[in-house]
Each structure stands twice: as C-alpha cells, then as structure tokens.
C-alpha cells in the first residue's frame, strides 16, 4: 500500500513524494479543511430540512481531494452519490450541488465547460459510462481522461467489472477509483468478497492497479497522477483502491453506524484523520498556520451561506418545464399532458 505521510505527518516515502509547489500544497489543505467544514454544515442543514439527500464525506477528504487534484479541468468526472466534493472542486457550482441535494432540476444543469456528470445513484453505472467517455476521448485523439469513483460495496456489481473490462479491452484513458471506506451501509467489506484486496480485481480486466492509503492526501495524489499520466500517454486504464473511512453515517436518511461499527474501530480510524496528518506535515514545512486554518473555516462558512442563499433564490420548478425537458421535440401525447398543467 502506497503511503507517503505517516499518521504523524512524517514523510516515509521520499521517492514517491509528489513534486508540488508550496501553493499547490496549501491549496490542497485549503480544500480539505473547507470540505470538512462544508460537511459539518451540510449535516446540520440536512437536519434543519434545508438540504435534502446528503451522504457525509468527513474522513474521505484526502481520498476525494487528492485524486481530483491530479486531474485537469478538461478531464471528465463521473461521481457517485457521495462524490459531491470532487465534482464541486472540478467546477460544479456549490449552489447547484445544494439544489441537487434538494431535488431541483437546475442542480444537474452543469455550466458549459464544466466536465462533470451528475452524481450517480445506481451503483456501478458510472463505471460502464466512464469506459464510454474514455473511449470517446481515445477515438477523437483528445488528450483527456475519464475519472470515476465507486465505494467498496460497488465492486460487487456487474457494471463495475464490465466497465473496467471494457476500458481495458479498448485501452481507453480511464481512471477508476475505489474508495474503500470499509462499509457499504452496514455491510463490512469482507462480506462483499473473499478477495484480499479490491485493487486485485483489476487482474480480471488485465489492467494495472494500485492500493493507496486513502487518509494520506499525498499518496492519493501521487497514485492518481501516475494513473492519469498513463492514461494520457495512451497506456490504458488503471484501478486505484483508496483505503479510507467515513467518520459519519452512510447518508443522512436514518443510518446509524453505531449499529454496525465498534467504537474502537471508529477511534482507530479517527487517529488517521487526513487533515491532522497533512496539517502536521505542512506545519513542519512552515506552510500552514492556525491563522490559515481559521481563515479557511471562515471562508467555507461564508461560501456555504452564499450558496444556500443562491439555491433559495432559484425559481420553483413547474410540471410543464419537466415535460419540456423530456425530449428535443415533444410527442403529441406529452404535449396534451403538458396542457393539463398550464393554467
């Protein structure tokens, strides 16, 4: 398993240390702190009924942000329902992510030039679609990559295998990231498969894979960067297993992790908090301070409030609008149904 920083923030693998500028390192820390605060706010806002569907992300910041940071804006991102942070850091406006959470069509209307698909609810569908997106880049000889995410439970789906296998057969520029947070709702990973690692599932597709410490942002960045570069060089897809943990529940829709996770296990993972580790590393380099941290926290709170206000200001949807979004040209029967809703 690739690890660059240990839990205390010491470099344990100098050779793999990515060559990042001070500004790039600080930017990653900013995004991680920002995302943690945003997650805390989102959980509260969900409880207040001001957000709808929400899948918590605390604990997975290194895995999410380290991997997205290794891509370029022209790369196409296919997130699963939990991967809202990557999608936002890739260009999805936060207020639209909030609208998506609430169930509003404007949430999914990606601005032109934002290369992100709406979060995928059907676990595995994003994997076969990523193979298609990647093949499109290859056919057009565009120097772009498709990057997609799935959880540990998702690796049991047929579409997971089909997607990595198709991408392998076509040597398409795709990066598949498994965020192994050890549990699929309440089911532990050992009930998903007898395979020792999820990374080894790449062997079935004949593609390379790597297992990485998903609580170590530099390790995730380094592995993803390598995979992205391989893909850009025409060398085909890679599967990355990022070993991580969600500190919170599966979603805010009634899941209680104390029913299936021991306190000891949760505490053990808390000690590997990706923010603590990266903060220690940056502080050791004099690249991060308490003041920096506080500034980001304020920035995040303000951004969340502004995004909420913008989401609140979005006009309500109407049924005729929904009908209009079904086809380029409305069939007669739908036109008749539309008329029933026009006062």
């Amino acid at each position: 398993m690739l690890q660059i920083l240990d839990v205390d923030g010491h470099v344990v693998n100098e050779e793999q240390l990515p060559k990042l500028s001070h500004e790039e390192l600080r930017a990653m820390m900013r995004k991680m702190v920002f995302t943690r605060i945003w997650d805390q706010r989102a959980i509260k806002l969900t409880r207040q009924g001001r957000l709808g569907f929400y899948a918590p992300v605390a604990g997975q910041e290194a895995s999410m942000i380290g991997s997205e940071a290794a891509t370029l804006k022209e790369d196409f991102l296919l997130p699963s329902y939990r991967d809202v942070p990557q999608a936002v850091w890739h260009g999805w406006p936060m207020y639209q992510a909030f609208l998506y959470s609430r169930g509003h069509v404007h949430g999914g209307q990606m601005p032109e030039g934002v290369n992100v698909l709406m979060p995928q609810i059907i676990i595995g569908a994003q994997i076969v679609q990523a193979a298609g997106v990647a093949l499109a880049f290859k056919l057009r000889r565009e120097n772009r990559v498709a990057i997609t995410y799935i959880g540990d439970g998702g690796t049991s789906q047929g579409d997971f295998y089909e997607g990595i296998n198709f991408a392998g057969a076509y040597q398409a520029p795709a990066v598949f990231i498994i965020q192994n947070n050890q549990f699929a709702i309440s089911v532990p990973v050992h009930l998903q498969t007898a395979a020792e690692t999820l990374a080894q599932k790449a062997a079935a597709a004949g593609i390379p894979s790597e297992r990485v410490d998903g609580m170590d942002v530099l390790a995730v960045y380094s592995a993803t960067k390598r995979a992205v570069e391989r893909a850009r060089a025409g060398e085909g897809p890679t599967l990355i297993e990022s070993m991580t943990f969600r500190f919170g529940p599966h979603t805010m829709s009634g899941d209680d992790p104390t029913r299936y996770r021991s306190k000891e296990l949760e505490e053990a993972w808390q000690k590997r908090d990706p923010l603590v580790r990266f903060r220690s590393y940056l502080e050791g380099q004099n690249l991060w301070s308490q003041a920096d941290e506080e500034a980001v926290i304020e920035e995040a709170k303000t951004a969340v409030n502004e995004a909420l206000a913008k989401a609140d200001a979005q006009p309500k949807m109407t049924v005729p609008e929904l009908i209009d979004a079904m086809f380029e040209q409305l069939p007669d029967d739908l036109r008749a149904q539309r008329a029933e809703f026009v006062k």
Binding site: L135, A136, A146, F166
Partner: protein, 326 residues
C-alpha cells in the same frame, strides 16, 4: 431504387448514416468483422474502419453503458443488442440512464442513441431470443420505440431514429428480415417517428397491429374480404412509443369497431395502452368493446409449439368475427 429485403434495407440505412455523419458509431457483439449474426452490418467495418464499426466484449450492460458515455461526449452511437431477450442485462443503462439523461441534466446532456435488437417468433429460435418485450420500453419515459414491418419503412425509420437527438429503441422482427423484398431507394430518406400508416383501407373494422402481426392481419383481412365481403382497415403502428393515436381515432370514427393485434402476451406489449387511448378519445364512436388478439400469458413457448402459441391467421380471423358480432 433496388429490391431489398428488410435486412438489406437496414444495412443500407446504416451505410447511408455512417457515410453522412462521422459521429455515428456502430458497435455490439460480432457486428464488426463478422458483419453481425444476421449480416445486418455486413461490409460496414471494411468500408468505415474499426474506429467507426467495432466489436465489443460480450456484456450488454457494458455495451449500453459505452453508448451512454460516448453519447455524453458527442457521438451518435448505434448499439446492437444481439437478441432483444438479452435486454434485461442492459435495462439500467437504457431505462435507468440514457432515457433520463436529458431530464436529469435539465437539457445539458443528451443521449442520441439507437439501440437495435432483433426479436420475434416463428423462426424456432432457442430460449430468450424471440420474446416481445417492447411493453417494458413503452413504460420508460424518455424512450421512443420503433418496430418496422417492411423494408421501405425499416430504412426510413432507422435513418430518422439515428438522426433523432433522443434515445430510440429499434426492434427488428427476425421473421421479417428476409421474408419479403420491396423497392427501397439506395439513397437516404426519412419517415417520421410517431406516425402510423394505414396499410389496408376498410370500412367495417379497424385493426391496429405492428411488427409481423401486420402481415398476419393483412392475410386475415384479405381472406375475410373474399369469403364474407367484410373490409378491415389495417393500421401499421410503426412507432409504438409514442403512439399515433390520431390515425387510430380517425379510423375508428369511420369503422366504429376496433381490435388490437399483437404478438406479445395479453398483459405485455402495447395493446392495453391502445385500447385505453381509444376508450379515452373515441368511446362514443364505438359499436362494441375494443378487443385484443394476443398470445397467451405464458412464458414465450418452446420452439415446437411456437406456431400454435403465436396469433395465427385463423385466430386473428376469429377475433375479427367476434369484434364484428359484438
């Protein structure tokens, strides 16, 4: 003009569109070098190269997912599902994904995909090859479903389907692939999706049919006319989603009686929807209830009893008689 079978007309449509639009891609199991299990794509890979016409691994969900992804990036995929019975493997990518893409993204992303699949009984195929599953697709908002019954329609409708900017499922009846020839232009032409055709005018009974049942209906109607002097008007739906209710109602207003004929089981297919629409739009023009002539509600039968299970000319004629007597 040339005399073409339906399968030749389909190949011709694919050829025209591959030539016209470089974003059209054709793929599926054995569609490349081999030219398809029914030769529908014969010669196309040689002509357009393996970047345009290519084989896929044997996985229907992967094929349909590939189409969704390629369409997201501006291609116009034509994905072949080798036999329609295998569509269950791909239902999420078709019904759960592509059919919803425009809606989910508020118009930002679209799925200009054509899924082609052979289906239909009467050729003694093994299990899960001949099933009429079009009813599953009718209940999928966002999808159009086309079933041609002859070479001319097949070509014009397929070209329209490929040019449509929304997903279209194009179902090809295996028994019709080579059972007739017709004059078909070599060059491209289109037929509107969602428009039925009156293929036999009549004044006594409206018969709505699609696929191979159009021919069974025509045969029964000709027999009926000769024996009894009664004239059935046959409507070939051509597109079963959306349904061209206008053409049906116009006919019902004239004949005042209707039957719906389908190869699918009674509670599958499109018949119930058509009956419901006639009831909604033309009840006061009816002399009697609209009846369905269908296969029985069993699993698609064993090859040896297929002919007895499928609606035969005799059963259809009995159905006509019953509708007239009501």
């Amino acid at each position: 003009m040339a005399q073409m079978t339906m399968i030749q007309a389909i190949t011709s449509a694919l050829d025209n569109e591959l030539a016209r639009d470089p974003s059209v891609l054709l793929f599926g199991e054995d569609v490349g070098q081999s030219g398809g299990v029914f030769r529908a794509t014969d010669g196309l890979q040689k002509k357009y190269g393996d970047q345009r016409v290519f084989d896929t691994p044997l996985a229907e969900s992967g094929i349909a997912g590939l189409a969704t992804g390629l369409a997201l990036q501006g291609f116009r995929p034509i994905a072949e599902i080798q036999f329609f019975g295998f569509v269950f493997e791909a239902m999420d990518e078709i019904a759960g994904q592509a059919a919803r893409m425009r809606f989910r993204s508020g118009g930002r992303y679209t799925s200009p995909i054509v899924y082609r699949a052979p289906f239909g009984g009467g050729v003694k195929t093994p299990e899960m090859h001949a099933d009429s599953l079009e009813g599953l697709l009718l209940q999928t908002p966002g999808l159009k479903v086309v079933i041609p019954s002859n070479p001319y329609d097949a070509k014009g409708l397929l070209i329209s389907a490929i040019r449509d900017n929304d997903p279209v499922f194009f179902l090809e009846h295996m028994k019709l692939y080579r059972s007739m020839r017709a004059e078909v232009p070599e060059e491209a032409y289109t037929l509107p999706l969602g428009k039925a055709a009156v293929v036999r005018p009549g004044k006594d009974l409206t018969v709505v049919a699609y696929g191979a049942m159009v021919h069974t209906a025509l045969k029964a109607a000709d027999q009926w006319s000769k024996q009894k002097g009664v004239e059935a008007e046959i409507i070939d739906l051509r597109t079963i989603s959306p349904i061209d209710i206008e053409t049906i109602i116009e006919s019902v207003k004239k004949t005042n009686r209707a039957v719906v004929l389908q190869e699918a089981q009674r509670t599958a297919g499109a018949a119930a929807e058509i009956v419901a629409q006639i009831n909604e739009h033309a009840l006061y023009h009816l002399e009697g209830p609209v009846k369905r002539i269908t296969a029985p509600d069993t699993v698609y039968p064993y090859a040896q009893i297929e002919e007895e299970w499928l609606p035969s000319t005799e059963r259809v004629l009995t159905g006509f008689e019953a509708a007239l007597a009501l």
